[in-house]
Symmetry: C2
Subunit: 165 residues, 2 copies
């Protein structure tokens, strides 16, 4: 079968879509492009030049993006001795980690709502009760997250055992 055929144009569109989507979440656009270019690459790692070529952007843009991505540990920089080119590799499941990290926003939200509830005069007031409800909801969801993610890991493991290969 032809399952190894890459549709480069479609992949570029995919990268751009994802970068925009992540961008809406406050993630730097160019960093998003780099992440998904790496993700869409069959190679284990790419050089800055590769990235610039595939994306059609300046070397400067890549430089900024990988600096950011290294900082937040989404890519690792692999310096190959005897080669002037640094290579960049995606940390395994980094998109998963980022997703989980974003979930901590719920805790922040819950805490802020709690502050508001207290400032509004506690649950005895209309506003206080409303804000306490909000706090409770976000805390509750936040608490369930670890369980949810564990379930995913389990199901994935089960599926793998069922059809191993």
């Amino acid at each position: 079968m032809e399952s190894h055929m890459r549709d480069e144009a479609a992949l570029r569109a995919f990268v751009e879509d994802m970068a925009r989507l992540l961008g809406d979440w406050g993630f730097p656009r160019m960093a998003g492009r780099v992440v998904f270019t790496l993700m869409a690459a069959d190679e284990r790692s790419l050089s800055a030049g590769d990235l610039a070529d595939r994306l059609g952007v300046s070397a400067a843009a890549i430089s900024g993006a990988v600096r950011y991505l290294s900082h937040i540990s989404m890519v690792v920089r692999e310096h190959v001795p005897g080669d002037r080119r640094d290579r960049y590799r995606l940390v395994d499941d980094s998109w998963y980690e980022v997703t989980v990290a974003k979930m901590t926003l719920l805790k922040t939200l819950a805490d802020a709502a709690g502050e508001g509830a207290a400032a509004a005069g506690g649950a005895g007031t209309t506003a206080g009760a409303r804000l306490a409800g909000m706090r409770d909801f976000y805390n509750w969801v936040q608490d369930r997250m670890p369980t949810l993610l564990d379930q995913w890991a389990e199901e994935k493991a089960a599926a793998k055992a069922e059809s191993p290969g």
Copy 2:
């Protein structure tokens, strides 16, 4: 006890915090301020003038914010006959609705990942397999969301029955 005492300064800080937090999610800042001012208000509804006063912003800013919020059905405009002032009321649990709506982003993410997987040549390739894994994860989480929210409704109902008022 003093549970009906409002700390106006703290509430202003709360409103500003929330507006910023929502802002990071791509939600217009001023609209966020209006939502949380309404949420932090003991009154059922506020006029545009009230909102402008409490927030210390121009009437124009309020006008734009409520137009947006009405559009996405987060506030309702109540026109009281015999009064020039329109009143704005928060739709019940609108923050909850917004949260749920945001979850649909997961579906979008999953779909895009699926596109990418196909374009990369399917699960037989390194990139294809990686992207398919991403697609599966977001689809899975998306699928569990309704269940999760049902659980919240149940627990809330149970808690209410246990200590009713």
